[in-house]
């Protein structure tokens, strides 16, 4: 156990690609946590998807042993935080377990919206913040301008920012010294008091079972101890306690200020309430720590197996994912168009994408995803309230008194040449501008936007109109009553439940027309005419017709054409497999999501 004056718990705040993982790798290397041979690129991002996308999803910790210039040995605990807005709660948990943060900013790019959101959270938690300018070796690096920007935008002193290049290793020693000298040791903590530890996060490891990351406040945690989770009331005998160095290493005990892990016979991650207080069964602490907010899914979409026979496999796969991700929720759903599947809830769009990708990649499942939607609050005429997760379940209009939809506060940060296009995008999505400020050639825009308008392709559009330079962050603020109606899409005169959506009445015609046009492109022509209509109730608001195929035959086809023709036929067959028979009409699976993608708005 280390005396808490020689402990530093810190996190790294950075925008994607600004070099957080590379810096973490360098720190681990410098402190001898791993031999060069063991150093994989980006040790911290252990999940495939994380490594591929360069993002961190789950919180992770690493213990670094560092002998400082003052000759003393220090224990530095790095808490790695997810960088993405979807995982903002996880960020706040990690920050709560630390006393300081390194703010890593790319010296050529400057501050981004996500960085802002996270750094404000750190300031809220009374963190000491050390600015670190990375990539100073790049020709485009502009240390002076970026330092100024940090001071202007974030309002912290950047005059003694540590200048580094994580890639080449320049300045890594300076970072370690800054951690020791400029970040505070854990403030409180008494070894002799009853155990009080914070449950920071939990994940499922196929070999160790559920691994719980803890931060000790008071007392000591050790092997064989009987502990109690104060919120859930569950008790466990600890099989082991340890630290990540960065490989899991068992230790005799964890004392005040220390960060490590505990392993007990916990079945699934969902049994661990994040933010719970862990104490001993005998002689427990009397005061629980302030917990964290419960995480609520904000985006829903339907996931259906392409092959109806894979339904049970899908259910099993989702169960396995949930072992490690308690924030992902689902309920069964039956769709006339898509068969049996699940309505799933996610923390945000990235979360949704990651889960979908893991289901198809790790479990080899072919899925159809319906367009994401948000949670609507309905007040019925009889006074009851109702949460709507699926537009297809919208009750009869006559029974509804009010429909409320979630609104967000969005912060967008962009080079000013893209400002006009971005303002138009926000305006088109029913946005209300609340703030527009300039700092050194960059604009910061704040908008109130309905989440409904953002949930599908807003981020993609933003990236494309700003050539990737704009960054975006949001938080949900409230549900607001709006004139929202259910729009049905009818293909060959039959409503397709998986295409139903809630839209603002003023925008229904436009959306309806767009949907019909898109579907006309997406549904292949068949031997008969197919009408496609958008309707609110019985009223048709837009209509397109897919003409019948009249001619499909190769004029010239001789011996040398057989192979090529057969390959074309294989394509036709593969296309057929991706079709859903809907009444007389075959609809390609992609259509269910692609129909909603709005071009050129």
């Amino acid at each position: 156990m280390t005396d808490k004056s020689h402990i530093r718990n810190f996190s790294i705040i950075a925008h994607i690609d600004h070099g957080k993982s590379t810096l973490a790798d360098r720190l681990i290397q410098k402190c001898g946590g791993l031999t060069d041979r063991e150093m994989k690129e980006q040790v911290l991002d252990s999940m495939d998807i994380e490594r591929e996308r360069g993002i961190t999803i789950k919180a992770q910790t690493v213990r670094l042993n560092y002998t400082a210039k003052d000759g003393e040995d220090y224990v530095l605990n790095l808490m790695d935080t997810p960088g993405h807005v979807d995982f903002a709660y996880e960020v706040s948990r990690c920050l709560a377990a630390c006393e300081g943060s390194l703010l890593v900013v790319d010296a050529s790019q400057g501050v981004e919206a996500q960085t802002l959101a996270n750094v404000y959270q750190a300031i809220d938690q009374d963190h000491e913040i050390v600015p670190v300018l990375n990539k100073i070796d790049l020709p485009a690096a502009d240390i002076e301008r970026v330092s100024e920007q940090i001071e202007d935008v974030i309002g912290i002193d950047a005059s003694d920012a540590v200048q580094i290049s994580a890639k080449t290793g320049i300045g890594i020693e300076d970072v370690l010294e800054a951690i020791v000298t400029r970040l505070p040791a854990p403030h409180e903590g008494d070894r002799d008091k009853p155990l009080k530890a914070s449950l920071v996060d939990a994940y499922y490891d196929p070999y160790l079972g559920v691994v719980v990351i803890v931060r000790i406040i008071d007392g000591v945690m050790k092997k064989k101890q009987k502990v109690k989770m104060m919120r859930t009331g569950a008790t466990y005998e600890l099989d082991n306690v340890g630290v990540f160095a960065p490989k899991p290493t068992y230790v005799d005990e964890l004392g005040p200020g220390e960060v490590g892990f505990m392993i007990a016979s916990i079945k699934e991650v969902a049994d661990c309430a994040i933010g719970d207080t862990i104490t001993t069964e005998k002689n427990p602490t009397t005061t629980a720590l302030k917990g964290y907010k419960d995480v609520q899914p904000v985006v829903f979409c339907g996931l259906f197996p392409v092959d109806a026979g894979d339904f049970d496999d899908l259910r099993a796969a989702m169960g396995k994912l949930r072992l490690n991700d308690a924030s992902f929720t689902w309920e069964m759903e039956t769709s006339a168009a898509l068969g049996m599947g699940f309505r799933c809830g996610f923390l945000g769009l990235l979360h949704l994408e990651i889960i979908q990708e893991r289901l198809s990649r790790e479990f080899d499942l072919d899925l159809i995803a319906t367009a994401p939607s948000v949670v609507y609050e309905l007040t019925m005429t009889d006074g009851t309230d109702y949460e709507l997760h699926n537009p297809a379940d919208m009750p009869e209009v006559t029974k509804i008194k009010e429909v409320r939809e979630p609104w967000i506060n969005a912060t967008i940060y962009t080079p000013d040449e893209y400002l006009g296009a971005i303002l138009k995008l926000c305006q088109d999505r029913r946005g209300i501008q609340t703030e527009l400020t300039y700092v050194g050639g960059r604009a910061m825009i704040k908008y109130e936007l309905p989440l409904n308008e953002v949930v599908f392709d807003f981020y993609d559009r933003l990236k494309s109109i700003s050539r990737g330079y704009a960054s975006f962050d949001y938080e949900i603020v409230e549900h607001r009553a709006e004139n929202l109606v259910k729009m049905n899409i009818l293909v060959n005169d039959e409503p397709v439940d998986a295409l139903a959506m809630l839209v603002h009445r003023d925008r229904a015609e436009g959306r309806g027309r767009q949907m019909c046009e898109r579907l006309k492109e997406l549904i292949p022509r068949q031997q008969f005419k197919i009408p496609i209509q958008a309707a609110i109730g019985a009223k048709v608001i837009a209509r397109e017709t897919i003409s019948a195929v009249r001619k499909d035959v190769t004029a010239k086809c001789y011996g040398g054409d057989a192979t090529r023709k057969r390959k074309l036929l294989d394509k036709q067959k593969a296309g057929k497999q991706r079709m859903r028979q809907f009444g007389k009409v075959e609809i390609p699976q992609e259509a269910f999501v692609a129909a909603l993608r709005m071009d050129g708005d």
Binding site: Q527, V549, R550, K551, D552, V553, T554, A555, K556, C557, Y558, G559, G560, A562, T563, K565, R566, L568, L569, Q572, K573, K576
Partner: protein, 387 residues
């Protein structure tokens, strides 16, 4: 002399691809090269050797047809054609009624050549007329005028009663009326066989680039369908009904036996650069694809005995798919039982029934074929009825 009488049960042909043309046509996506003044002796030797190379491994086949295609094989020396015919006859026993076709461009037709081709053994000509309208011929990049084409047809018919002409219709802006007039004048030339193709814009051709640059707009699908229906009507009325999607003959005797080999699932050697062949071998039905480039083809023949770059045996399913794709194009259709045996599965009965109800498909005496209405969608229907 008449055409081929009764169609033999076992069809086995040789296709010889001559890859050179005086000028590359803007619609053509075949494996062709400009002739210039090349020395073609190495290619000629390779073609002969290629036939011998295949013959070494094949026994018990009677040669029912030989086809010189291209490219422009009418540019070949008649002595070379003669050598190919002789070599083929030595290597494979020829059927008494063997059909030997030469594709020829109208500008290559001279009395001397016609005589020489006949002496070499050619008994059928396929003339690349393409249009009987001078503007259209210029648009199609042809080297002849309509007047020259007419004279060439007459001259050819004098020597080869079994002469066919190719026409390309559904050209940009072509009206039904204008096409029927042109077709009528072609029919009045009295050839016993016609091949009528809608203009198709193939990838990577000069036409594809022109369309991309919006230099012309291809005819729409509806207009093409209307033209096709009218074409079937007029040719039937004038005694040359279609026996395949795009091919018309005065009687069974004049149907191209060689081309029926493709549509009726026969066997053929693919000789010459880029040619594709199909053989029933102990491993199953097999595709051979010759080297595309002329020098590669020549060295392949020298080094390996045949010009084949790739040989792959088809699975039963693939063989059945090809049989259906090609077979539905012919009036004779496909034998259902043998296709299903190759597939190891039945054809889609529900689809067969619905196409029958729509009047697009017929099933008679165990054979599935398409009606004229069905031919309009032949590719689509093939894809739908296969499992």
């Amino acid at each position: 002399m008449s055409g081929s009488p009764r169609l033999p049960d076992e069809l086995f042909g040789i296709y010889v691809h001559w890859p050179y043309c005086a000028k590359i046509c803007p619609y053509c996506d075949f494996n062709v090269y400009a002739a210039k003044s090349r020395d073609t002796s190495a290619l000629e030797a390779a073609i002969l050797k290629d036939i011998e190379g295949y013959a070494a491994g094949l026994t018990g086949r009677t040669l029912t047809s030989l086809y010189f295609g291209g490219g422009t094989p009418s540019l070949c020396a008649p002595s070379f054609l003669s050598e190919v015919i002789e070599t083929s006859a030595v290597q494979f026993e020829p059927d008494g009624d063997i059909e030997i076709t030469l594709e020829a461009n109208p500008e290559d037709i001279t009395p001397e050549r016609l005589k020489a081709w006949k002496a070499a053994g050619v008994n059928r000509l396929s003339l690349g007329v393409q249009a009987l309208n001078d503007d259209a011929l210029r648009f199609l990049g042809r080297n002849h005028t309509s007047d020259e084409a007419r004279k060439a047809i007459d001259a050819a018919l004098n020597v080869f009663p079994n002469t066919s002409i190719d026409l390309i219709y559904a050209r940009p802006g072509q009206s039904i009326h204008a096409w029927l007039e042109e077709l009528d004048s072609a029919l009045s030339k009295g050839t016993p066989h016609l091949s009528l193709y809608e203009l198709t814009i193939k990838e990577k051709t000069a036409f594809a680039k022109q369309v991309e640059r919006e230099q012309f707009i291809p005819l729409g699908e509806d207009e093409q369908a209307d033209l096709y229906i009218e074409t079937l009507k007029l040719t039937a009325k004038r005694g040359l009904p279609a026996y395949e999607v795009s091919n018309h003959a005065r009687s069974e005797d004049y149907c191209s036996r060689h081309n029926l080999t493709y549509w009726l699932n026969g066997e053929w050697l693919g000789i010459g650069p880029g040619a594709e062949g199909k053989l029933e071998l102990p491993d199953g039905r097999t595709t051979t694809i010759a080297e595309q480039r002329v020098p590669d083809y020549i060295s392949a023949v020298e080094e390996r005995g045949t010009g084949s770059a790739e040989t792959f045996s088809l699975t039963g399913i693939e063989a059945a798919e090809e049989a259906v794709i090609l077979g539905l194009r012919s009036k004779r259709g496909v034998d259902r039982a043998s296709v299903e045996a190759r597939l190891g599965a039945p054809l889609n009965a529900r689809k067969l029934e619905s196409f029958t109800e729509n009047g697009q498909l017929l099933e008679e005496a165990g054979r599935i074929s398409l009606t004229e209405k069905g031919w309009l969608l032949a590719d689509y229907i093939a894809g739908e009825i296969l499992p």
